[in-house]
Symmetry: C2
Subunit: 770 residues, 2 copies
């Protein structure tokens, strides 16, 4: 039918462009109470006493609850599928409000009031006495603190180490004399998702049921976690997800929904709204894991990798959230991206610290791993005096590769072509040569980096999805999913997939974007770049069945054999010649209102996905470095992607632009700064946290190499996260090219650059005063 | 399993008793705009000019729309299933706002403002110039007006007659000398439903979709009618029905939803609320048809009916709504209730008049017909000097009867037993004798009346329903319906039915009471006492399939044959000995989260209902009449019902109490009083309109005779409307017994009684001054 591969406008474009789309807060009823959280003003210790009397006396304050009141039911917040195997469950290490304070900004009390002003006044009237413990803002400090007998953040983890993985293959070469080594310690900072829409929800209890309307990527998982946190049967929880204004993984955690649901339970019949401020989103939701990765690579003189070691220490923050899965994921990607060498040694540690909990963020450990790996590859190329592109071509994963642990296999790869196109577009050879030897205040460089990325979480976790279609009276069809549009264009490609598989037109598919877990088919949600792949399979299966039901009903009406009919556009047509037999509208009117045979045609199926596949891509950049200012100007930035077949090329391009923009901030300017003693976040707002603005952003170029992946429902592979991976290391490598200086810590901000240039003797003058 | 016949508490009891249940207005978002309708201040004529400039200048007024602005797409409002046959569709005779004014209170403009005060001020600032036509508040006046060449209410009906039916059987006896005649003209007044919750909705447009949240009995029909009224594809409309606070047929009309949706369309992105005041509900929604019924009955000396004639003139009011269907339904019941006599002559007319449109109201024409028929039967008994009960026993419908037009057949009847029980409970024989000859100011009487009532609308209209069940992770199940809880306890009996049919416990069935037409299975809604019957069939079919899917999955897990398993309570058990094989919770956890075989178990089916059956019942009352005051005190009131098998006897009893209370008001005190010249409703509020209060209501006794109807899914038959039918005529007949005076007009209010008593010489003194 050709619905796949069409750059149709987003199905929600008009809503969103015209500002008519309803987000969570737009739907909150009048007269809802407002809840505001009281956050800890210490980063480690205990709430000894909490005085709420003054707060309760504030006019308009309806209730105050504290960490002394909450159910003692530890719960996990990570947006993972549940497992029937207790060993595969997320770590349940937090309560609704925490007496044991583990980071500055931890949730310790909540005020519910008739309006925001009263709630704020209530917050200010709360008095808390703490018992403070020493603060550890880095994994090293946290491990040291534990070694010294300090109180661990969580009782069950006496050494503050949440998780640890190791992997080893082959023998490390005894004789390294003929080999070239590249060794580095690559440091990735803490950053925040900065989604446009805050973490916001509202909830109420009716009878025995609690409804939570929330801006979440994972409504069905929120339902489960709320049930667990409140000790209620999961079916007593109903979660509704309206349109959401971005999540990027932060809303793949169950953030404030359990607390909000509990407030609704404590105030039955009242609707309670809980909307975090931007400052709270920074300090009291999730962040991307700061990870320090030590890599050593040995290669022979031809550039063949011989031995590789990888040692990551990941800063988990106060609570487990997605925990060690992030660091472990990076380990796997490091193992996969380049061909097996003689020896591989890997280790990763994830350590609790007194900073906000790190969770999922677009890339799930791979932005950090890719930064380290790709920086190290350029370091190696430099040591070998080899073209970095050449080095990668020689060693990168090829079709047929199978990860020895996960079994994930490379079914298709357009990476070689991505490299070829990127090389040409950036004029690689000429510029590598031209910029080889520069001096003066402005220097240019070109750099690149590449990556591989899995599609979904199989076989590490369950991948399953259901979809449902329902015929409308006008011959259009509802597409009812548990999968979620989170701003990425999901609904549009879901509609295209359904249309393709059942034969209808995309414009006649109405995607239900308002997930209500009471009735929505189960799907674990938007994360892991899984939906076009895993949900796509469920949509395909369902839409085929739906199409068969349409032709089956038409066959009954027309006295023809169903196998001689198919759906094509707005009609059921003859299989042989495409001649219309009946329009879908007529068919629908008959099916709904027939006095002969009324059938409300629908279809629902589950697809249990048992495959995975690698997406690939790379970034090429050209930069100009202002040496005295330490400022990088991006002259050209190109991302090239093999995400298999593109469902909607225009949307794919938009995805890439968004991901590149995030990677740009990650590479150049963003970082969360914690006070080393107090653990307080010093720049938790959009003025002091340097998110790239439109003016900071160069033209972003997205290029696709379409492969037809044999496992993808429509030949497609991951696209959601890949765009955010390779641009930061490409920038770092271009800087190396321009200046010869290796900057191994992100972001590549002016302070860091000028200090490094000075150290390298490239800048004169004294201390940097910035 | 025994889930049927259990008096479990309502599934929504806690919600509603504790006040936590959310109704439409509770869900309306903050910052919604408020719309208020400008109603006509004439009853017949045209809007010549309408000046909204001052209204637009009122601070807070955002928009004013008038009858000059609306789409010229006439639409029908009746809550009937759509028909693919244009000849079977409802009359589309109104616009969103009407320039042609047809009743006092007609909708002619609407103000949208930021708040109610501004909206009210806006209304007051509107200036309208009318061209007035003479007003006809009765069918006689309307027909006369048309005969005199007056402008008809609707162009297409020049004689103001909306509909007309005739039926005739046999030859009217030429020789009536040996026969006894009873002849009367029975007059039923206009009454209003007076549901607790007003007609209220709110709506918004997102992109191309308009969502309307409304207090309606018929969400799927509202969706269609809004689509038709706005000229939009029906799939572009989404209707949500939260809990509703009563409807009684008024909300089986599409009242203000199309106007509200249109306002949302005119103000895209804004949410607009439209909530009618009590006064507006009286004058601008629907009422019960005032019908005058002339009956003549001839019987032989043994009391066998020989010939019957029935002539009804029904006052439709300004718009067609359910129209002639009401009067026609009464004709059918008259034909059915008593055995075929030698001759039957029937005619019914429905006439447009300048009063609010009459629509469906609990009983759908049968309260009027039953009042007339049963009054006439007592008149005949009096003429025959025969016990009225005896007369009815001799002539009433018996099992096997089949209506000659509709083909509806009497499959089961407990009426004889109802009569026997009622006779005993009221001590009929003794009291009929004891009260035969009384004098003095206080007189007592006993009376009775009976009825038959169809179950649903087949074969007059389509009866079809779908249901869906979805397994929850905790082993409970969602029951997803298009059928609606409207306060009657529907959700509870739906849950019991589903439990019975699939083997689960009722308490583990979670009924989704929040219909969202985007995803809810199709069902035409709550009316015609259809849901336990028609929807019940769909639930039974679906739940059986769902149960099979549970055992099928369990069979796969346990390596057993599915046919050897069944669901029992919270387990799948062995068919043979009931031994548990797996709990539903374990099964659900496995089905959701299995790495082997994940299936989200659900089932959806349609049942196209092709049967109907008669429910029966009767009322027995004892009253005391205060002759000088004209006041009736009800000493005992008993309703006896054969509604087949009761799904939930306690809820059935509550239904009967509610229906009796409505019939009591209908019989004794309620009526809408229209000014004969202006057509203005004079008592459109709950102070002047005499709804029976708790203090006016005697103990209400409900008795059931349970039959097992062979066509009912669980042996059940209609119960929703029957309780509202027979009490009013029983009261009239008791009054006849007490005083010998035939009052043939409702209500039996003091003014009417004293006037009649005076006329009959039972009261001395002059004019009545009340």
């Amino acid at each position: 039918m050709g619905e796949i591969g069409r750059s149709i406008p987003r199905v929600d474009a008009k809503d969103k462009v015209c500002g008519t789309a309803k987000y969570t807060e737009d739907l909150c009823p009048a007269y809802a109470l407002t809840a505001k959280i009281y956050h800890a003003a210490i980063a480690n210790g205990w709430v000894e006493r909490i005085d709420i009397d003054d707060a309760l006396a504030v006019p308009g304050v309806e209730a105050v609850f504290t960490c002394m009141d909450v159910p003692q039911l530890p719960f996990a917040t990570a947006g993972h599928p549940w497992s029937t195997d207790p060993g595969h469950r997320d770590v349940a290490d937090r309560l609704l409000l925490n007496r044991r304070v583990r980071c500055y900004g931890d949730d310790i009390a909540v005020v519910v009031a008739t309006d925001e002003v009263a709630a704020d006044r209530g917050l200010r009237a709360i008095r808390v006495e703490y018992r403070e413990e020493p603060v550890a803002v880095t994994p090293e400090q946290a491990m040291e603190m534990a070694a010294q007998g300090g109180e661990p953040l969580h009782e069950a983890y006496a050494d503050n180490i949440l998780g640890r993985s190791q992997y080893q293959e082959g023998e490390w070469p005894a004789d390294t004399e003929e080999l070239t080594a590249a060794k580095g310690s690559y440091v990735c900072q803490a950053v925040q998702h900065c989604h446009l829409e805050s973490a916001v929800s509202f909830a109420w209890q009716e009878g025995e049921k609690i409804t939570v309307v929330s801006s979440t990527q994972i409504p069905h998982i929120v339902r489960r976690v709320v049930g667990q946190a409140l000790g209620l049967p999961w079916s007593r929880i109903r979660v509704i997800k309206p349109y959401i204004g971005g999540g990027f993984g932060n809303k793949q955690d169950v953030l404030t929904e359990p607390l909000n649901a509990w407030l609704a339970q404590k105030l039955p019949g009242r609707t309670v709204k809980l909307c975090l401020s931007r400052e709270e989103v920074f300090s009291a939701t999730r962040i991307r894991h700061p990870i320090t990765i030590d890599i050593e690579t040995l290669a022979d003189q031809q550039g063949n990798l011989v031995a590789r070691s990888y040692n990551a220490v990941s800063c988990q923050g106060a609570y487990a959230s997605h925990g060690h899965g992030i660091a472990a994921n990076g380990m796997t990607a490091f193992r996969d991206m380049y061909r097996q060498s003689q020896a591989l040694r890997q280790q990763a540690l994830t350590v609790y610290c007194n900073v906000p909990a790190a969770g999922a963020m677009r890339g799930y450990g791979i932005p950090q791993e890719t930064f380290a790996t790709e920086a190290n590859m350029d370091d190696l190329a430099l040591a070998l005096a080899m073209d970095p592109l050449e080095l990668r071509r020689k060693n990168m994963m090829l079709p047929g590769f199978k990860d020895p642990v996960t079994g994930i296999t490379c079914h298709s790869s357009g990476l070689e072509e991505c490299l070829r196109k990127g090389e040409a577009l950036i004029d690689w050879q000429a510029k590598r040569q031209a910029y080889a030897k520069q001096s003066g205040p402005l220097r240019r460089g070109v750099g690149m980096a590449l990556f591989c990325y899995k599609t979904g979480v199989y076989p590490l976790s369950l991948e399953t999805s259901s979809a449902r279609m329902v015929l409308n009276q006008d011959g259009s069809a509802q597409l009812h999913l548990g999968a979620t549009e989170i701003g990425q264009g999901g609904d549009t490609v879901f509609a295209q997939m359904a249309a393709e598989a059942c034969g209808m037109r995309t414009e006649d598919i109405r995607v239900v974007s308002f997930q209500d877990t009471d009735v929505a088919p189960y799907d674990s949600g938007a994360y892991a770049s899984r939906q076009t792949y895993v949900t796509g399979m469920a949509i395909q299966k369902t839409a085929r069945l739906f199409g068969e039901r349409l032709t089956g009903y038409a066959a009954g009406l027309c006295g023809m054999a169903p196998e001689n009919l198919r759906v094509q556009g707005q009609h059921v047509v003859k299989q042989e010649d495409g001649q219309p037999v009946i329009s879908l509208e007529e068919l629908a009117q008959e099916a709904f209102y027939s006095l002969e045979n009324s059938v409300h045609i629908s279809a629902q199926t589950t697809n249990h996905c048992r495959s995975n596949t690698f997406a690939f891509g790379c970034s090429f950049v050209e930069i100009q470095v202002d040496m005295p200012l330490g400022q990088i100007r991006v002259l050209q930035a190109i991302n090239l992607h093999d995400s298999g077949k593109l469902i909607n090329p225009a949307l794919a391009e938009a995805q890439v632009h968004g991901g590149m923009s995030m990677a740009l901030g990650y590479g150049l300017s963003e970082r969360m700064i914690f006070h080393p003693q107090s653990g307080k976040l010093l720049n938790g707002n959009l003025l002091d946290y340097k998110l790239a603005t439109a003016l900071d952003t160069p033209d972003l170029q997205a290029v696709f190499v379409e492969t037809q992946d044999p496992t993808g429902p429509f030949g497609n592979k991951a696209l959601g996260e890949p765009p955010a991976l390779s641009l930061a290391p490409a920038l770092r490598n271009a800087l190396l090219h321009a200046t010869g200086v290796k900057i191994n810590s992100l972001p590549l901000e002016p302070q860091r650059l000028t200090a490094a240039f000075r150290e390298a003797g490239l800048l004169e003058g004294g201390e940097d005063h910035v």
